[in-house]
């Protein structure tokens, strides 16, 4: 059995959830609505995050250009994603939406530019 405490972020209530995993699956207590239950289970099963950062640009107006993962990636992969972002050196011009890496850190998610440079 595994138990985790967390704050629900689905609304400003910020309910303090306790999520438990046992042989019967997941159970959530402390929530006041259905969305809290979904959130708790998702956070326990596989928390996902969009990663936003910036890359160094060669020949641009600014030294850096902001980027994000096109979709959320598993939280456990954030370190690997950031590592690959740090090594990228795209050249200007860069446009919003440009794909700077097709499959960042083997997550299957693209890294895209969020600004023009």
């Amino acid at each position: 059995m595994k138990t985790q405490e967390m704050i629900c972020i689905r609304c400003p209530m910020g309910c303090q959830l306790t999520v438990t995993q046992d042989e019967n699956g997941y159970s959530v207590t402390g929530n006041t609505c259905r969305r809290g239950e979904e959130y708790g289970i998702q956070e326990m099963r596989c928390p996902m995050r969009v990663v936003t950062s910036s890359v160094k640009v060669t020949g641009g107006q600014r030294p850096v250009c902001s980027v994000k993962t096109a979709q959320a990636v598993p939280k456990s992969e954030i370190g690997a994603v950031l590592g690959e972002i740090a090594a990228l050196r795209p050249s200007a011009p860069i446009h919003i939406g440009d794909v700077l890496a097709g499959d960042i850190a083997h997550t299957g998610v693209a890294l895209i530019a969020t600004a023009n440079d």
């Binding site: 910036s54 160094k56 030294p63 850096v64 740090a86």
Partner: protein, 481 residues
């Protein structure tokens, strides 16, 4: 004379040293201005009350009294020649009870003895007519019409620039590590580097006793005394004159004063400290300033405080300014222990020290091409619309506003750097960029960009005020480069 030989080396680039440098620069002498800090005005001259005192609280017959009254006479002319702000707004020492009334009477009489002009003892109501924001509890006051306000670091910078224009060299970021006698001169060592000077002026502020001891003169010590201040936003000023409380043995007391830039401040506290470099602000100091300033001016808006700071005054063991030729070393001229009223006295001290240098044996021939005036950096914010347009026409960089709180343009910042600003604080003191209500939150990165560009220095090497005050710890993703 070789490149490293000078007639006079002035140690200390505060207002005393810089005023001496300026006064000396009207003669044909080779002089050098030395300071450990990377800019001028980095000690007491950057953080004091900015007051040109009338001179009623110095002990009659003291050196302080003489320098104060003479300094007050000279100050306005110096400010006019050097384009330094000056406002003869007058001052009030206020009293709340009979004891205070007696102190005010004493001050008045001392003032008469010192030759202070334009003094008057006022009733509480008369004082409130002069300064409507005064507490209703004020029963008596001493008015001094010759008191004025100025800007201490502008004065220091202006003197240093004018001295340089007239041939005085600057050696900043050069801490004097030893002074030794050599062939009728004094060798001034600054770490690895050194120079020879026929005469040395000791204007080293809180460190003047250490400098003096390097040549065997241990006739005095300097102890640091800290004064904390709170500065208020421009739109919240409520006094138009300098408001003192009655003095104590620790100094002139906590005052409330307008500044030449239209702000207002309360301060200083007065605390003897151990560390000469301790310019920290304390919770106790803030509490004391709050209480005392409200006593003088109950309507003071302390929520409008935009910054707090502290300065360290050089308190001499002798109880008076130490101005004279050292008895231990005739080539050493002392301008030491310059506590309050040091700013006021600086032009008078400069006159006196130059006389002493001559007396010590240096012949002073007036320089034919001496120029007594120095132009200020153009202040876009104070120009008429026509003048602003004209300035931008001449140099479009005056059309780019960098500091939005104080309306400081790129043109002003570039000019400050050309004149010697090397740090963010150096730019700030010369232009006011970052001195407004956002305290540089908006303009600091922009000022850094201009500094980096103009100095050809990477952003990561820029400092707030020299030494180890680096503003950045590196660049992004640098591990991979």
């Amino acid at each position: 004379m070789s490149v490293n030989e000078y007639d006079v080396a002035i140690i200390g680039a505060g207002v005393t040293g810089c005023a001496i440098a300026r006064q000396l620069s009207q003669y044909s002498v080779r002089a050098v201005l030395i300071d450990a800090a990377e800019d001028v005005a980095m000690g007491a001259s950057r953080a004091n009350s900015a007051i040109v005192h009338a001179g009623y609280d110095c002990k009659p017959g003291s050196c302080e009294a003489r320098m104060n009254v003479r300094g007050n006479e000279l100050f306005e002319t110096w400010c006019r020649d050097l384009s330094v702000p000056f406002n003869r707004c007058g001052s009030l020492v206020i009293g709340f009870d009979d004891d205070d009334a007696k102190t005010l009477q004493d001050l008045y009489e001392r003032g008469l003895a010192n030759g202070v002009p334009e003094m008057k003892l006022l009733s509480g109501d008369e004082a409130r007519a002069v300064e409507p924001s005064l507490s209703p509890l004020v029963t008596k006051a001493l008015w001094a019409g010759s008191a004025a306000i100025t800007c201490p670091y502008q004065m220091t910078i202006a003197c240093a620039e004018n001295a340089r224009d007239n041939g005085v060299e600057w050696r900043l970021g050069a801490r004097v590590t030893s002074l030794t006698r050599e062939d009728g001169c004094i060798r001034v060592a600054m770490g690895e580097k050194s120079l020879l000077a026929r005469y040395v002026v000791n204007a080293a502020g809180v460190y003047a006793d250490e400098i003096s001891r390097m040549l065997g003169d241990d006739s005095f010590t300097i102890s640091p005394r800290k004064g904390e201040y709170m500065l208020m936003d421009r739109k919240n000023t409520c006094v138009r004159t300098v408001v003192f409380q009655t003095p104590t043995k620790m100094g002139k007391g906590i005052l409330v004063s307008p500044t030449v830039d239209g702000n207002m401040f309360a301060g200083p506290t007065s605390v003897d400290i151990a560390d000469k470099g301790d310019t920290s602000v304390t919770a106790e100091g803030i509490a004391q300033l709050t209480e005392k300033s409200k006593k003088s001016v109950p309507g003071i808006n302390l929520r409008a405080v935009i910054t707090s700071f502290a300065g360290v005054r050089a308190q001499p063991s002798t109880g008076d300014f130490i101005i004279g030729i050292s008895k231990a070393e005739p080539r050493l001229i002392q301008a030491a222990g310059i506590c309050s009223p040091g700013l006021t006295s600086s032009p008078a001290i400069a006159e006196e020290i130059v006389r002493l240098i001559e007396k010590a044996g240096l012949s002073l021939a007036p320089k034919a091409d001496y120029c007594p005036t120095r132009k200020a950096i153009p202040e876009f914010r104070h120009l008429s619309r026509e003048e602003q347009a004209e300035l931008i026409e001449r140099d479009p960089r005056f059309g780019r506003v960098i500091c939005r709180c104080e309306t400081i343009t790129e043109g002003e910042i570039v000019e400050a750097i050309r004149r010697g600003a090397r740090t963010v604080d150096g730019v700030k003191r010369r232009t006011r960029a970052g001195m407004g209500r956002c305290q540089g939150g908006f303009c600091m990165p922009r000022v850094m960009e201009i500094l980096s560009r103009e100095l050809g220095a990477p952003m990561t090497e820029l400092t707030k005020f020299g030494g180890g005050s680096r503003l950045l710890t590196g660049i992004l993703k640098e591990v991979d480069d």
